[in-house]
């Protein structure tokens, strides 16, 4: 966990307690009393910067704060031959053609390129070429580009496209691993992104309506008629496991005892475009099907925590089990069998069943991802109503 | 008595007749010379060769370069920090620090040792100079336990001069007839104290600010323009007239 390279400042005794209470089954006891799947409250707002095409700000309960700004520029599309084609993207196109039903888009389907989206992450106190920062940026970008839905929306005509710049700023110091914060903020910023209204037609040089009020949403709100599928930008959640407990939205203290941490990127399965005549009810949002875009395992800081010393080996407690002490002068660093109530940094891997349980729990209907997507959509809808 | 001799460049051959030959005492090589076995002695720097027949020694007098500490040199150092039992003292810019033990002052105990803050100046003697070890300083004579004028320097101003001038200034009057600027100034009635560090730092204090600056300017001008005795007189005359 490169951006959280600072030492964990929690004593082995506390770590041992945390580990024990978090691995309780069936329901772990978290320090802040949340249930294992509960998200902490967060404050979110969109459209905060009039100078951008879309922007969002999210404050997590621990005080960490991020701002994302989206800017788009018109760029000439490189001719087909030079374009980078993602093989999966090609496959998906085939699946989608039937859905889109000859909207005049089929001619240069394969002309999309992942280069159309550029993402920069800025973490205070870290250089932008720091491996941790680069890794964060790539994880967010990877999820965004995975389903190819975003780049499809950036196409203007066969000769031009929008070049999108996403600037992801972490405003606070990185308290815990900022990936979910940055990902949710990016999600919101993309939802609030508006593109100027195209008034030219076909493949001619693009002309846009100067009136900002006429601009269109990059991701049209539900219920609005649109040629594009109703996909939404993805979100990335942090899931951790301790023993057999699976916890969402882990805090800094909880991460310090994690056995495994996964970054799970999830997006909605795009539904069929709304037929022209029916008006979708908001209920439709509830019927979303989630799909998994990517999983990354993240090295938790628990692995570099200092181990606890059992009372029996601790000179400070006069070594209750006196017999052990003289033999193990180097016992602090040596491999000793795990003792109940004594903290020992996790070693080795995590069982496959736990891993799959983590992913399933994230994707569950009505689960955390669903809840978060609902919440974020609420932010977006609220902003539209107020406008 | 030192004898001034020919000018040499690194690698020049020194005429064997010039090398002092004392029947009993071993030949002592001073700075700037290197003995290449079996029997050649080569200068490693450019400068003037000096010999002393009485001590059976030979060395090269050169000006410039950076200060290389050698045992028994008296230097002016600047405290960098204090750690453990030692002060770390800077004696030459950009060189590694020398070490001055907290207890190497006259008549001090752990409780009475001088508290020197970073940036303070000390006048100290090089006790140990070895190329593989940190240079060690002391402000007390290990045999007599007396300070002999060494110790922290209070107030005053430091002027940087060339190593050659610093060396000549620290010679006795008999040996050094060429640098008379300080004597001239003293004769003119200026009140000042001078401490010469072999590392090219001269501390001047004790008098008024204007006088201190005047002495410092006279010294640095003498040094930079390499004045002979006559020119030094002129410099002093000019500066004194400015003073009035």
């Amino acid at each position: 966990m490169a951006t959280n390279q600072q030492q964990v400042l929690i004593s082995p005794a506390e770590l041992a307690y945390l580990h024990a209470s978090l691995s309780l089954s069936p329901e772990p006891i978290r320090p802040d009393g949340r249930s294992s799947t509960q998200f902490r409250p967060l404050v979110a707002e969109t459209d905060i910067l009039p100078g951008t095409n879309g922007s969002a700000r999210i404050c997590f309960a621990d005080g960490s704060e991020a701002i994302v700004g989206v800017k788009v520029e018109v760029e000439k599309t490189k001719p087909k031959a030079g374009a980078m084609i993602n093989p999966e993207e090609g496959k998906e196109e085939k699946g989608d053609t039937g859905v889109e039903g000859g909207g005049g888009f089929d001619d240069d389907k394969k002309n999309y390129s992942n280069d159309w989206v550029e993402l920069a992450v800025d973490i205070p106190g870290h250089r932008d070429d720091d491996p941790g920062t680069a890794f964060l940026g790539n994880m967010i970008l990877e999820a965004l580009l995975e389903d190819g839905e975003l780049v499809k929306r950036l196409r203007i005509n066969s000769r031009f496209h929008w070049k999108m710049y996403l600037d992801v700023l972490l405003i606070s110091q990185p308290l815990s691993y900022p990936l979910p914060l940055l990902s949710l903020t990016t999600h919101l910023a993309l939802l609030s992104t508006r593109l100027p209204c195209l008034i030219s037609e076909g493949d001619e040089d693009p002309m846009f309506d100067d009136d900002w009020a006429a601009s269109t949403n990059l991701y049209p709100p539900r219920g609005e008629k649109s040629k594009l599928s109703t996909s939404r930008p993805p979100i990335t959640l942090l899931v951790m496991s301790v023993g057999h407990s699976i916890l969402f939205d882990p805090t800094y203290e909880e991460l310090a005892v994690a056995d495994a941490v996964l970054a799970v990127s999830v997006s909605e399965e795009p539904t069929k475009p709304v037929p022209q005549d029916t008006i979708a009810t908001p209920k439709q949002a509830k019927d979303r099907a989630l799909r998994l875009l990517s999983i990354r395992s993240i090295d938790p800081p628990s692995r570099i925590t200092p181990p606890g010393v059992p009372n029996g080996l601790n000179p400070a407690t006069n070594g209750e089990v006196a017999g052990l002490q003289p033999k193990h002068a180097e016992a602090r660093t040596a491999e000793v069998p795990a003792t109940e109530g004594v903290w020992k940094a996790p070693r080795g891997g995590v069982s496959r069943s736990v891993l799959s349980a983590m992913v399933f729990k994230a994707l569950e209907k009505g689960g955390v991802a669903d809840e978060v997507l609902d919440g974020l959509q609420g932010v977006e809808m609220a902003s539209e109503i107020l406008e | 008595m030192a004898e001034e001799g020919l000018f040499v460049l690194p690698g020049d051959l020194i005429d064997p007749s010039f090398i002092p030959s004392h029947p009993k005492k071993p030949l002592r090589l001073g700075p700037g010379l290197r003995h290449i076995p079996p029997n050649s002695i080569l200068p490693t720097v450019s400068g003037q060769v000096y010999t002393d027949n009485r001590k059976n020694s030979i060395w090269v007098e050169y000006n410039g370069g950076r200060y290389v500490p050698s045992t028994n040199d008296q230097v002016i150092g600047q405290i960098q920090r204090s750690a453990g039992e030692h002060y770390y003292v800077n004696i030459a810019p950009y060189a590694s620090n020398a070490v001055l033990p907290h207890l190497a002052f006259e008549g001090v105990t752990k409780k009475t040792r001088p508290q020197l803050n970073p940036g303070a100046l000390v006048y100290a003697r090089v006790a140990l100079a070895h190329k593989h070890m940190d240079v060690e300083l002391e402000c007390v004579s290990p045999s007599t336990g007396k300070a002999d004028g060494l110790g922290p320097l209070v107030d005053g101003m430091v002027f940087n001069v060339s190593l050659g001038l610093a060396r000549r200034l620290s010679m006795s009057k008999k040996e050094n007839s060429k640098v008379i600027v300080l004597d001239l100034l003293g004769d003119a009635g200026l009140v000042f104290e001078v401490v010469v560090g072999r590392n090219g730092r001269v501390w001047i204090g004790g008098g008024s600010v204007a006088d201190t600056v005047l002495v410092g300017r006279a010294l640095t001008q003498t040094d930079e323009e390499d004045h002979g005795p006559e020119a030094q007189k002129n410099v002093v005359r000019r500066l004194l007239s400015e003073r009035k």
């Binding site: 030492q7 | 800077n90 590694s96 005053g156 101003m157 501390w203 201190t212 300017r217």
Partner: protein, 380 residues
């Protein structure tokens, strides 16, 4: 030698012995965090097989450099850098600081100058065109101008390229490292940039040869040879003088062809120069910065509470003002200093003009006249 290295070295020796069929393969030792002092014996002792151990040290050093990357080691095994190895900027002692301050309250500067007095400024030119060396007291700066034909930047096709490159090399002080700009260097290059480039002293449009395709790239390299305070003023004089001294090869454009003539074919031409800005730096002393000194030396710079650089040309146009922090100074004093700077700039400006003229005369000795005479002779 680092602790990890010691362990590895021992391991490598064992490994080499194993390769030479002696004994069993050793287990790579864990890097211990023992006190390096205790390992001194093993690191310094020339253990058996001198040639082998040298080899082993070589490998061990490579390995240890990998191992030192912070990701691999936790802080327990991280070794603090020895302080002595880092060349440090020389610092001024408290005695000197105190003395300088008291001296200023008695209206005395350590080199006997008046408060508003510059150190002697001298300017010399090299044999080549475009080389200027400035000495301001003990501060010495060399500026060299060079020009080459390149492609202009895409966003400004009608402009040539003009660059001022400052480098404080370790030659000035070992505290300066190559390729790692220090604060001093950044500020110096920004000030020169603002004074000379942004103020439009050089007409960059005149450097364009063929719009969007070919242009002159003029580059000034500023070398600081010795640093005794007030780098900015000296560097600025050097840059301006070098640029005005510079002659670029004459060119002609025919269609798409640009011909660059050698000095023998055609007389090189001077750059199109619009105005000559010079920097004047004031330093402030005292609790509220009420004392202002012109042209501070290095020692004086060390005790200043604020500095104020104003760039002007002799027509009384301000090109740049920089008081980048420090103690707050009364606005009226700043205005007075600016007024003082205008006088100083006129003096510097005259000096540079005169030196340039002298140099031109020196070079012109028989130049044009000799040429004319030669032609006359041929005609007759």
């Amino acid at each position: 030698m680092e602790k990890g290295t010691v362990e590895l070295q021992v391991w490598h020796q064992k490994f080499l012995r194993y390769l030479a069929c002696e004994g069993s393969p050793p287990a790579p030792g864990r890097i211990s965090s023992r006190d390096p002092l205790h390992d001194k014996s093993s690191s310094h002792s020339p253990s058996s097989g001198a040639s082998q151990s040298w080899f082993a040290i070589g490998i061990a050093l490579i390995f240890s450099s990998f191992l030192k990357s912070p990701d691999k080691l936790n802080s327990e095994t991280q070794i603090p850098l020895p302080a002595v190895n880092m060349p440090r900027e020389a610092e001024i002692s408290t005695n000197e600081k105190q003395f300088l301050k008291t001296a200023l309250t008695e209206n005395v500067r350590i080199d006997g100058r008046l408060f508003e007095q510059y150190r002697p400024l001298s300017l010399g030119f090299g044999e080549e065109f475009g080389v200027a060396e400035v000495e301001l007291g003990k501060t010495r700066i060399l500026a060299k101008v060079s020009a080459e034909v390149t492609v202009p930047y895409a966003d400004r096709p009608f402009d040539g390229i003009f660059q001022i490159v400052t480098e404080l090399s370790p030659m000035v002080s070992p505290a300066f490292e190559v390729n790692r700009p220090t604060e001093t260097e950044v500020l110096l290059s920004r000030l020169l940039e603002k004074t000379v480039r942004r103020s439009g002293a050089l007409d960059t449009e005149s450097l364009c040869l063929m719009a969007g395709k070919k242009c002159w790239a003029v580059r000034v390299d500023v070398h600081v040879l010795s640093h005794d305070g007030n780098l900015v003023d000296a560097a600025c004089v050097a840059v301006v003088a070098a640029l005005r001294h510079f002659r670029k090869p004459d060119t002609s454009v025919e269609g798409e062809m640009v011909t660059v003539y050698t000095a023998a074919e055609r007389e090189p031409t001077p750059l199109s120069w619009l105005h000559s800005p010079y920097c004047v730096t004031w330093s402030f002393y005292g609790e509220e910065g009420e004392m202002a000194l012109l042209d501070a030396s290095w020692k004086e710079e060390q005790v200043q509470v604020a500095s104020f650089t104003v760039s002007l040309n002799r027509h009384g146009e301000v090109c740049q003002i920089a008081k980048l922090g420090g103690v707050a100074v009364d606005a009226v004093l700043l205005l007075k200093c600016t007024a003082g700077a205008t006088v100083e700039v006129k003096r510097i400006s005259e000096m540079v003009d005169q030196k340039l003229e002298e140099d031109a005369k020196r070079r012109d000795k028989g130049g044009l006249m000799a040429e004319l005479r030669a032609e006359n002779e041929r005609e007759s």
